[in-house]
Symmetry: D3
Subunit: 162 residues, 6 copies
């Protein structure tokens, strides 16, 4: 009956994020995708836009909900106990930072973190790289789901390759 909490900025969601949410949905009873509301950064998409995109992406997955969150991830997850925080891992340098966060969340609230490798074909994806590609009109297929591609194109309405 464990709930997997999948936190992130998702600004915007990439196919790597989709991949992690699908794996979470298969392995755990319930999944909560937690969209970080980070007032100190200026996102490309508002929290509401990001939530709407994630809900469309997860529409077929019955056990997945999408929520905004602010504050300490440990407290958000502890409020949904029994729960684990589930993070996708792409590369080694991700891992070390995530390991620190995991130890901190265990310290704060006894919440466990589990890691699942993303698909090898998505290991090079990140939201910031995707935004860079969109800014200069590069090919977005294979990087983001269609709903996100449309959203990125509406922000960068120059000619794009198809």
């Amino acid at each position: 009956m464990t709930t997997a909490v999948v936190p992130g900025s998702f600004d915007p969601p990439t196919l790597g994020h989709v991949d992690v949410i699908q794996r979470a949905s298969t392995a755990f009873q319930d999944v909560v995708v937690a969209v970080l509301l980070n007032p100190s950064k200026t996102p490309m998409f508002s929290v509401d836009e990001r939530i709407a995109m994630l809900r469309e992406i997860a529409a077929q997955l019955d056990n997945v909900e999408v929520e905004a969150f602010e504050g300490l991830m440990a407290e958000f997850a502890a409020a949904r106990a029994p729960s684990v925080i589930l993070k996708g891992l792409r590369v080694v340098s991700d891992f070390e930072y995530e390991l620190q966060m995991a130890q901190m969340n265990r310290h704060l609230k006894g919440v466990e973190t589990m890691f699942v490798p993303t698909s090898a074909t998505h290991a090079y994806l990140s939201s910031s790289l995707v935004k860079e590609v969109a800014k200069f009109g590069g090919k977005l297929q294979g990087l983001v789901p269609p709903v996100v591609e449309r959203a990125l194109l509406s922000r960068h309405p120059q000619e794009h390759e198809s």
Copy 2:
């Protein structure tokens, strides 16, 4: 209803292994600890001895079973579907090898691997380091559970610090 398969050589089990088994027992419905029978290595403890130690260690955990296994981990886990392979992660260099194994197991049988960080206080533990300490009569408390400490002392009956 996902089963977590926790594979390893466990020659012998350390407190780091105990830590991972306990976390698995909390987060998943059922746990199978899978003891690798590796004919190409000469272990310190036989598979039967390792299974006996692990069963004593997990005696309080109702949802944990211990089994021997030989062959491909992907097939062992796939036979217990829905299942995930659960590995403890101590350090970055563990991670990269485990990531390769995870991608291979996904390729072979579609089996997912999840990683859980061991407690920070056990990050420096490994079965081979523990055997080295035992060989030279070093202090074993804090490294292995009591059943393993007794087993190691019976193999190295010189004077030990207490």
Copy 3:
């Protein structure tokens, strides 16, 4: 007669920093904790506040002094020769950046850098994580010494868990 120079921003000092200062105090004749005055960043605590906290933390350690510093660490350390720069190491990604700094400081002034691992239980601590925890009212015990906990609470006077 070597002096160990322990540089850092210490904004604020964590138990990981305290750990390194204590180990320095045991291994070296004299220790200078060097508090970086970095005009391009906006710290939470002024240099004077950080120096005051570090002096209270190190009050029991007779051979430890605390000073502000600005400019090149290599020159600060060379002015206290014979000296080494002593840094705590928590994780691998720290190490690579620190290795670059160490080679640069050797190049500039022939000053050696030595690294000491922090306690495993503090490996996940950083000043920025601690500030994040304080901002949202998380538990600070086990992360920072009491003097720093009081200072953080006075900056974030909302209800805290105790």
Copy 4:
């Protein structure tokens, strides 16, 4: 007949950059040094100044050209096909980021990236460290070529060690 494209900010060029350009010039028919025009950062030197310094540095290398570039590196390189992107590698943490970029550039335009290790004696060099050293009047010989040393000194006209 492959062209090697060597991209970078070069703000300013270091001896590590010079090292990579020389190795590129030996192994490939043609080399294009591509100076990134990044409007979101405030560089110390303008693109024109960086191009002028690089042209002086590469004056003896007949097959090396220097150009400004803006946009996606994959498109810049694809326009010069057959071509590869050539990057110097100093340290492991460079590598992981560069590997992500390489996979992205292959995805976008089928452009390959190759990596060449910098000389061990330059592994600790970076443009930002060099600017820090210059700011505080540290010794610049052995870090940058003479044309860059003169440019840095003209920006920081305080007394320098010689």
Copy 5:
């Protein structure tokens, strides 16, 4: 006119190796695949068998030759000057060992080493993992080219999945 020397044990060649050879063939005038004859290890396939498999794999690539080699790679490559050693890079831990070898080969004979990332979908492949999979009858498609699959099956004639 630079020759790329691609060294390895190739015991057996995987699709990751094929990937690197193809990229080498595109970027360089001539390619020599150098099969290491290492008397201190017992390979699964003899040098002659490995050369025959590689020649079949590279049959369509006009500028690729396959040769055995023993001794120092730096001397083998220097004898084919102007040349570079070209290595595929899968993961970070590969990189650090390869970086050491590259510095040594530069020291010994002034030979440069260049690295090319393997395809993301092959990042988890290694000859030893492939042999393990073959030993237990796992699925080999997607891991090795057909000629290697046949060779592995003839060594492990138990029932295989198809």
Copy 6:
């Protein structure tokens, strides 16, 4: 009055080892180079030969002694208290293993470990690479001190480059 214990196999000593011993000699009152007697490995040089080479190398350094050791490094160092274990660090992958050993030695006997970066020009050196170079008659200058070069040449009396 802290003694630095510098442990290793030194089979044979390289210029990287010499570098660490010299730095230890400068920063600490007394230095003990501890030559590991490892019965489970077959070294190229006996412990007595390795000790003799190290004594010749350290002949000019008044505060350096060379001893054989067997058993647990933590006990060897604790018997020379106040002491620290001092290790050279070349690369990131060294660091992670050494960090585990450091935590274990602290656990066993409260002994601290400190790390000092080797010179960048020696970062690619290891005893096993040096033996490989010697075996095939490669150039040994710049890799090992003269006493070790003579010893390696007497083991591999084929023609060598000079």
